[in-house]
């Protein structure tokens, strides 16, 4: 085997490993399972959501009640967040004007 071939193989292996790590979120922070993972899984990056959610949760109900409300609406977080400003469904969290669902999901993340 030539040195060039060896190098190419190594690069390919590293790329596959990187792809797998990304796909299966091997290096992402792992959270213990919760009863709300069907909802929390829709949050792309949970860490900032938890930070933001600490403020959001102050004026919102507990996790179980929040989750029940979110499940009643069949739309995903992305669908709701996109639609709510047009429907005047907005919330104010520590001065930030956000789609209502963003406040709900963040509050859930902070409580889960």
């Amino acid at each position: 085997m030539t040195r060039r071939g060896l190098l190419a193989g190594l690069v390919a292996v590293l790329a596959m490993a990187g792809g797998a790590a990304w796909k299966f979120r091997l290096f992402a922070k792992q959270y213990p399972p919760t009863p709300y993972d069907d909802l929390l899984g829709q949050i792309t990056d949970r860490e900032p959501a938890i930070v933001f959610g600490q403020a959001a949760r102050k004026s919102l109900p507990g996790a179980a009640q929040l989750a029940a409300g979110l499940r009643r609406d069949r739309r995903s977080l992305a669908e709701r967040a996109a639609a709510e400003p047009g429907e005047a469904q907005i919330a104010e969290v520590a001065g930030w004007v956000v789609p209502q669902s963003v406040a709900f999901y963040a509050a859930l993340a902070a409580q889960a």
């Binding site: 900032p48 930030w96 004007v97 789609p99």
Partner: protein, 500 residues
């Protein structure tokens, strides 16, 4: 007698008999004099100060205050030829049509006429303040070379436009005294009389006419002016003071039979850093935070204003929200932006934040008022006390406009908004003022609700008029100079008819 005269050098007890006496050589007084220069009437323009700032003259403005903290009464205005245009910022925009409307559920709002009554005078007013060609909200069509408008979803806030008086290159906005001194000198029938303080308006025994103005100088000279007509154009504070202090015939003061003179004082609150606007793609056209000059010479700046439909539907007062400086986001703010942008499916990796400022319209309040105090100035005139108020509703209503702006940013997926203040003490701690003194001799057809009628004539007094922003019954959020000059030109047309 024509050309500039100095009241200190006229013989004591001189009696002057002009057709028209204009009290005050600021933008209203000078505009009025120039507009009537060819009318065939002899005009005496009485200015308390000289051609430049003098501390002793300025001290005549001192007064006391109660209520909400406000700028000292000698701090926000200038008492010499040109008046407060000697320190104005040059921001200019016509009042909007809705500013003239009475509005359901909003007490004291509305003018006795629609905006079209002063529209014919805007072009000349624009020329007098040297704000270049009339563009304003037509700028949407012409500014595309300078970048796109902020993307907002459908709703109650839109990009509106201010122009500027002559702030080109190193020029300051037009100072009316400097700029129009030569024109006043040239006008054969105008006599600007400097250092001439009107200390009393004397009425006929039936209070139906002005018979005489008492004039004093700080050097001790005394003069008498016996005009056929008088226009008070001394600014919203000093005009009210002179009317209140002239109480030998009307015991509550000239034109104050219904206890309205001095009430409804207003200014534009301009609290700082009212909000932070995050733009997800980081792009913000320069005309939002800097003045941009169009090829034809208009100097423009974009602001964010509530639409009339939104104002009517929500009972919201006027406001203008300005983009100020780039701002930094703390970790919590960054978390808010990341969480929201990800939920919206938007890339916020290049997001930038900008602090927002504003100018607000206050709701008219009869208790926000000027009254005579017990102290007297060097001329023996009673000093004023200002009782300043600002209602919680003013903040709540402006907050609604900010919330709407935030909603529209989200709807367009272009950005988001953080509102800085919620409590009254937070708003007050950030408070600054526009120094736009308004409303103390408000205009209304009903003498029980206004000091002057729709022609700016003091109710019940046949030959006394008021010019300037003191007649504004509702204030809008536009800076007043262009509008008060337009109103003054309208008054000039009226006077040409009645004085002929």
């Amino acid at each position: 007698m024509s050309g500039f005269q100095d009241a200190r050098t006229l013989p004591r007890d001189t009696v002057l008999n002009p057709d028209l006496a204009i009290v005050g050589g600021g933008p209203a007084g000078i505009s009025l004099a120039l507009a009537l220069a060819e009318s065939g009437q002899n005009i005496l323009l009485l200015e308390s100060g000289g051609r430049t700032f003098e501390a002793d003259v300025q001290k005549l403005y001192e007064g006391s205050q109660t209520g909400v903290p406000y700028i000292a009464l000698d701090g926000g205005r200038l008492r010499y030829l040109g008046g407060s245009t000697n320190h104005w910022g040059g921001w200019t925009r016509p009042l909007d049509r809705i500013d003239f409307e009475s509005r359901k559920g909003m007490s004291y709002f509305g003018w006795p006429f629609a905006r079209n009554a002063i529209e014919p005078y805007f072009a000349r007013a624009q020329s007098l303040i040297e704000a270049g060609p009339w563009v304003y909200d037509e700028a949407d069509k012409t500014m595309s070379d300078n970048g796109p408008l902020l993307r907002l979803g459908p709703g109650g806030v839109y990009t509106s436009w201010f122009q500027f008086s002559k702030t080109r290159d190193n020029n300051l906005p037009t100072h009316f005294g400097d700029r129009y001194q030569a024109d006043l000198t040239k006008a054969a029938r105008i006599t600007p009389l400097l250092n001439a303080n009107v200390t009393a308006i004397r009425l006929s025994p039936d209070a139906g006419r002005v018979t005489q103005l008492d004039v004093a100088t700080l050097s001790g000279n005394r003069l008498t002016v016996k005009p056929r007509y008088t226009v008070l154009a001394a600014g919203a504070i000093e005009t009210a003071r002179l009317m209140l202090a002239s109480h030998d015939v009307m015991t509550a003061g000239v034109g104050n039979g219904n206890d309205l003179v001095g009430r409804f004082f207003a200014d534009h609150p301009i609290p700082r850093n009212v909000a932070t606007m995050v733009v997800f793609d980081g792009a913000m056209s320069p005309f939002y935070f800097n003045n941009v000059t169009l090829p034809e010479g208009a100097v423009m700046r974009a602001v964010l204003s509530p639409r009339p439909e939104f104002m009517r539907a929500h009972g919201v007062a006027g406001s203008l929200t300005t983009v100020e400086n780039e701002a930094k986001l703390d970790p919590f703010a960054t978390a808010a932006v990341v969480t929201t942008a990800q939920a919206l499916g938007v890339d916020a990796s290049r997001a930038k934040a900008y602090s927002l400022g504003c100018g607000m319209e206050m709701a008219p309040d009869p208790d926000r008022r000027l009254t005579l105090g017990t102290e007297r100035d060097a001329l023996g005139m009673p000093r004023l006390n200002l009782h300043m108020t600002i209602s919680d509703d003013d903040f709540v209503l402006f907050r609604q406009t900010l919330t709407e702006l935030g909603r529209q940013l989200l709807a367009a997926k272009s950005g988001m908004l953080h509102i800085s203040y919620n409590r009254r003490d937070e708003w007050l701690a950030a408070m600054d003022w526009g120094n736009h003194h308004l409303g103390t001799t408000r205009m209304h057809n009903d003498p029980k609700q206004g000091v002057v009628d729709a022609n700016s004539r003091v109710h019940g007094i046949g030959n006394l008029y008021v010019a300037g922003s003191s007649i504004f019954p509702t204030y809008g959020s536009s800076n007043p100079t262009l509008n008060l000059v337009a109103l003054t030109l309208r008054l000039a047309d009226h006077l040409k008819k009645v004085m002929a």
